[in-house]
Symmetry: C2
Subunit: 206 residues, 2 copies
């Protein structure tokens, strides 16, 4: 375990915690206080760290995603699972604003051909965000919803293209999970830098 | 205060908490146990709720953003503040992966004409995400960094366009803050729906 810690850069206490939580399979027993860990363990450790630390998933969410990867669930199901586990925030909104937002989302989904189920947590998050903008009287983003959705479609094509040419199913699933979880963080940072650039141009660097 | 609670839908205990935390200015005293709250209070309450609940900012971050709005700080400065306060996650990464990532970010910034300072938390988040992808051996997203950055530039133009045509400076600042904070949540949800659609097309709905 000390060697696994050296190779992965993850402290021994943390590795023990992951083992207890079922995020890491046990090593092959070679003695009463010894176990052998392979390169699969190093790889899995890195994935767990990325999902927890950079992706911000909960331990329970990481366990569920890993179980889906390991049980060879259908590809599309695993992608959906990774997506559902990203906890999008939804605040409290009043009923009238919510109804208004549901109509906006249904119209958008119909125009883009997106399959949208009302009880999907992603749809709930979208409805809550639109309803909040509505109750704040800030509908500028909502007015441009179709333009944002068009960019989202282009980005989803780009996201999916990262999975082409990967050698095997396990790699595809791992790349999809990592890409979904880290992809938001990556793009949020790029968007901020681009906004900063555009804002400096519009308002001056003061 | 009971009336303010009715009009805003925010419980009295929560309003008292916001007052104590300096997120809401005190009402105009009209008696020993009475104060008058105006429509400005209702509007501010809604903004505070949105920043805290849907935007996920900390109380301290909301206080700082509101102070900047109220002190009529320079527009570009307020936008930068709202952006810095969005806590982008950054995990632990090793030095070699970090150097590799810094080079990628510098090259990208030069190609897009983005002004990039190494100690900017947004740049740190971007570097940490790229370094994590590198150490996981998942560089598919990094290979498409320029394509993602191009979409980020288009989105930033769209983001900034929401501020055109607003009547006064206070409205522009409020819209910019709300848009920055809620914009990420909104787009993350759109991106997931688009990914779901693209994934169902590529892998079948199984």
């Amino acid at each position: 375990m000390a060697e696994l810690s050296d190779r992965s850069g993850v402290p021994v206490a943390t590795i023990k915690y992951y083992l207890r939580e079922g995020l890491l399979p046990p090593g092959e027993r070679t003695g009463p206080n010894q176990a052998r860990y392979g390169s699969g363990h190093v790889r899995r450790l890195r994935l767990v760290r990325a999902l927890l630390d950079v992706g911000g998933l909960s331990v329970a969410a990481v366990r569920e995603v890993l179980a889906a990867v390991d049980t060879r669930a259908a590809m599309h199901g695993v992608l959906g699972l990774a997506q559902r586990n990203l906890e999008l925030r939804a605040g409290q909104v009043d009923e009238q604003a919510k109804e208004w937002a549901v109509e906006r989302v249904q119209g958008l989904a119909a125009r883009r051909g997106w399959p949208v189920k009302p009880d999907d947590p992603v749809v709930e998050s979208l409805v809550a965000t639109l309803a909040t903008l509505h109750s704040l009287g800030r509908t500028e983003l909502v007015d441009r919803l179709d333009s944002y959705a068009e960019l989202a479609d282009r980005m989803a094509e780009l996201d999916l293209s990262t999975l082409g040419g990967l050698p095997d199913r396990e790699t595809v699933v791992e790349a999809a999970v990592v890409g979904t979880v880290l992809g938001d963080t990556l793009f949020a940072a790029l968007r901020r830098l681009a906004q900063h650039h555009a804002s400096a141009r519009s308002f001056g660097d003061t």
